[in-house]
């Protein structure tokens, strides 16, 4: 009887502890796949909101060369967004009545703009053929290109809003930005990660 109990204890103790670990890891893997299968695109997630706020903040902590926008008829500070409608809606909401310098902010759909150099800032939500082409066309131009996509950053977007754990942190390709005459404030650089494209 004594032996039996000792044995039970030896078995049960680790069982109880490691059972928990086992169950936990099972749930981890099952949940991960179930989640992928069943997910739906949300209307406006916290991530979208935060992305919009970052874009708005960039307009305050980044300086464009003075001659930008001079040859445009419209005197707006234009932020162009590819087909991310929730983001565009939020951007419109937060930039109502806001100015950059003495220019009011306008939010435009990227694909509806005839010439993407009209945009002072472009946000690419994904890496698509169309976006790669636009990016290639405006290289060296004083248009700030922002993305949340890793490929787009490697392909030449200037800033990536990198999801790091639960937070978002800008990754800045400083060399690329400098070539275009745009300057980034030290306050923004302090919270950012500097990205170097080593190719």
């Amino acid at each position: 009887m004594m032996l039996f109990n000792k044995t039970t204890d030896k078995i049960m103790r680790p069982l109880w502890k490691w059972g928990l670990i086992l169950v936990a890891s099972c749930v981890f893997s099952i949940e991960a796949s179930a989640a992928d299968a069943l997910s739906q695109k949300p209307q406006a997630s916290a991530e979208t909101k935060l992305t919009a706020i970052f874009l708005y903040q960039f307009s305050k902590f980044i300086e464009w060369p003075i001659d930008t926008n001079t040859d445009q008829n419209e005197s707006y500070f234009t932020i162009c967004v590819d087909d991310d409608l929730p983001l565009q809606t939020i951007l419109e909401k937060i930039t109502v009545g806001e100015m950059v310098g003495n220019l009011p902010i306008a939010i435009r759909k990227l694909y509806e703009i005839p010439n993407s150099t009209q945009c002072q800032m472009i946000y690419f939500s994904s890496a698509s053929e169309a976006n790669f082409n636009i990016l290639a066309n405006i290289k060296q131009q004083p248009t700030l290109t922002v993305t949340s996509n890793k490929e787009m950053l490697y392909y030449g977007a200037m800033i990536r809003l990198k999801k790091q754990g639960k937070r978002i942190r800008p990754q800045v390709n400083l060399e690329l930005i400098k070539e275009t005459g745009i300057s980034v404030s030290s306050k923004l650089l302090r919270i950012s990660e500097v990205f170097k494209n080593e190719q």
């Binding site: 039970t8 695109k41 978002i168």
Partner: protein, 705 residues
């Protein structure tokens, strides 16, 4: 006395079964079945949860709030439902306060306890150079318990008595991202001991500390503290940091002018690695080790008669050390679902005149968040095993000397969004079991409501139950207490000094709290914010004393009495209070903060006095004097604690920071500027005497490279 003796032997037997397995076959078998049931319960809970459909994410950020945030704050905003360690669920329907990294930088505080001084509803008092009393909502004392304190998910309170040795709790202050303080019961989701509040210290992700830092502090009380931290990225997705830190602090003096001999020092080192795998799996591995010593004069009563007229002072040379490791795995599934698994190991050693504690704790916790239509659900479970070895010191002895204690818990919490328009309901329940409880488990339910009156105003209310598990001290310790003549012990006042022996009976059980809370938050215009919280608490089974034998007169000389007493759960009482916070930013350069805390424990009729500070007022003013010069002023008025013989006081701290270059700042701080010295508390232990807190100045240099 019979009821105590009777239930004691039964209880003791139940516990002995776990220690000496062989003695009682049937009961032992029973215990294993219980354990299997627990595993089954948790397993089914988790499996059940995993079958549910997952939908979109949760957090509703107010765009105006986000828009008004600084860049530093933006990079710290979390974009998915966080785990329990940074849950946002409680943010809305509970009294929450957050100390940000920015505030830590501005503050003249050089330690974690000092940082907590300005929190509404929290009372922090320095007992001497190395001992603090930190309590929430009127529960203070050096051995204040019923407060859950965590650092990066690792529990910091000792199961020895349920309180925290604050002198050993430290890290690089520059690496702290924020400290979240929840007043009131957090029992439904947080770990055990969260009766009166939760203090959650969260350090930065290693990706946010990717530079080297050298920091040094020297001054009249700060005798030289130095920190060296190295941080870097190993790859795009993996970062690490490591640090070493040393502190040396000078002694204070007693009112008499004699040195309190309470100088102390410690050294610590630590590391943290954070890595993101496949975008949505994050791994964090961190750990640390420390070693130090803190002194103080102790007045230890003898274990047997006769008593001396006055207790002789002996130097209490405390030695402490500890090592810990934490591993955390978090996974963000598709929109809104997330899960985390955390394991920690913690070893602490502390040697004092009263007793020596050597403790090893292992803890595992799992948590799962998921959403379905407008429901946001969190389920989780945890298990903790703590083993200790106690060496009896002067005036205290423990039986048994070695003990292993197991705690397990499982919880579920659900938030229903918009049950009617703008009204959220949060319902949660936690089931917790512990070897020291007399019942097999305890339930801690809570229900919270959050109503959004307008874009800028919210009102919330909560009804919750929380428990505090009994600890080693209450169940296993026999200790001697020196009672001066004409001081009441259990309703009697004896005309001679008395040696009271508190006998371990093992019957002490859980303390219970039922709490009703309500609060209101509003943003008046953009630059004025108000937060009000009020509570009504009903405590059941707080400590009280029962006479076992005596008083017996020992003729001496000198004549003394001896009594035997036991600790029982005999004190029930009601408490209420309010906390009001006001933030004001009159101009971009200046901002101010006022906190007023009111706590009333007056219906506490038990023998064990809870030192309660009824009124406390904190003021903070922070301003930018020029591009590179800022000033921070903290002032406080602390009322006289009920039950202790000491006066109210007013004090002020000031710090000037000169940002010499973006990577170098020099600051000059003066603390307790209004008096050359003042008393903040009376000690609750014979091993600590209350020293006077001195005015002090220091110079600090922070250099990142």
């Amino acid at each position: 006395m019979t009821p105590i003796g009777g239930s004691y032997s039964q209880w003791k037997q139940r516990r002995t079964n776990k220690l000496e397995v062989i003695k009682n076959d049937m009961k032992h078998l029973n215990f294993d079945i219980n354990r299997a049931l627990k595993v089954g319960l948790i397993t089914s809970l988790l499996w059940g949860a995993s079958g549910l459909v997952l939908a979109d994410p949760s957090q509703d950020y107010d765009l105006d709030t986000l828009k008004s945030m600084s860049l530093e704050e933006l990079v710290n905003v979390e974009v998915s439902i966080a785990s329990k360690t940074s849950t946002k669920l409680s943010d809305t329907a509970a009294a929450v306060y957050v100390i940000t990294a920015e505030e830590i930088k501005r503050s003249a505080a050089t330690s974690i306890p000092e940082l907590l001084r300005s929190v509404p509803g929290l009372h922090v008092a320095k007992i001497n150079s190395n001992s603090w009393s930190i309590g929430t909502r009127g529960f203070g004392g050096q051995f204040a318990n019923s407060l859950l304190v965590l650092m990066d998910g690792r529990s910091l309170y000792t199961p020895l008595f349920g309180g925290v040795f604050w002198d050993v709790q430290d890290t690089v202050l520059e690496d702290i991202e924020r400290i979240e303080i929840i007043r009131g019961p957090g029992g439904a989701i947080w770990g055990s001991n969260a009766v009166n509040g939760v203090i959650n210290i969260i350090t930065k992700d290693a990706s946010q500390t990717q530079e080297n830092l050298i920091s040094g502090t020297a001054g009249s009380h700060e005798q030289g503290s130095i920190t060296v931290r190295h941080g870097a990225a190993l790859s795009n997705d993996t970062s690490y940091r490591m640090y070493v830190k040393q502190r040396r602090l000078d002694n204070y003096e007693y009112q008499s002018g004699d040195s309190a001999e309470d100088d102390w020092q410690d050294r610590r080192a630590g590391f943290r690695i954070d890595s993101t795998i496949h975008e949505n799996h994050q791994i964090s591995f961190h750990g640390g080790a420390y070693k130090g010593n803190a002194a103080g004069l102790a007045y230890i009563p003898p274990i047997s008669l006769p008593l001396p007229d006055a207790l002789p002072a002996s130097l209490n040379q405390a030695k402490f050390s500890g090592e810990n490791l934490t591993f955390l795995w978090q996974n963000d599934g598709a929109e809104g679902s997330s899960r985390s698994l955390q394991l920690f190991y913690d070893h602490t050693y502390r040697q004092e005149l009263l007793a020596t504690e050597d403790r090893t704790t292992l803890d595992i916790e799992f948590q799962q968040n998921f959403t379905w239509s407008d429901q946001y659900t969190t389920v989780g479970a945890g298990y903790r095993e703590t083993r200790d070895k106690l060496i009896n010191g002067a005036a205290v002895s423990f039986d048994p000397a070695k003990d292993t204690n197991e705690t397990w818990n499982a919880f579920v919490q659900n938030r229903s969004v918009n049950i009617i328009e703008n009204l959220d309901m949060i319902v949660g329940v936690k089931i917790e079991g512990n070897d020291r409880m007399q019942s097999d488990y305890e339930l801690q339910p809570s229900i919270r409501f959050n109503y959004q009156i307008s874009e800028t105003s919210t009102v919330w209310a909560a009804l919750s139950k929380a428990i505090r598990s009994p600890t080693r001290v209450e169940q296993d310790a026999t200790l001697s207490i020196f009672v001066p003549a004409n001081t009441p012990v259990i309703g009697q006042s004896l005309n001679q000094p008395t040696l009271a022996t508190l006998v371990a009976t093992g019957v002490y059980d859980v303390e219970k709290l039922t709490s009703l809370e309500a609060g209101f938050r509003t943003n008046l215009k953009n630059n004025l914010r108000i937060d009000i919280a009020a509570y009504y608490n009903e405590f059941k089974g707080l400590p009280g004393l029962q006479l076992i034998s005596g008083p017996v007169l020992n003729p001496g000389p000198p004549p003394t009495y001896a009594v035997s007493i036991a600790m029982i759960n005999s004190t029930d009482f009601k408490a209420h209070g309010t906390e009001v916070s006001l933030w004001w930013q009159p101009s971009p350069q200046w901002q101010g903060r006022i906190h007023y805390s009111y706590a009333n424990n007056s219906s506490n009729a038990g023998f064990v006095t809870i030192p309660t500070v009824e009124h406390q007022l904190n003021l903070n003013l922070y301003g930018t004097l020029s591009d590179d010069l800022t000033i921070n002023i903290d002032a406080r008025h602390v009322g006289a604690p009920a039950g202790l013989i000491m006066d109210e006081y007013v004090e002020m701290d000031l710090k000037l920071i000169w940002q010499v270059t973006p990577s170098l700042d020099i600051s000059l701080a003066g603390r307790n500027l209004l008096h050359s010295n003042h008393l903040e508390y009376s000690a609750s232990s014979p091993s600590t005497r209350n020293a006077e807190i001195e005015r002090d100045f220091y110079l600090k240099l922070n250099w990142s490279l």
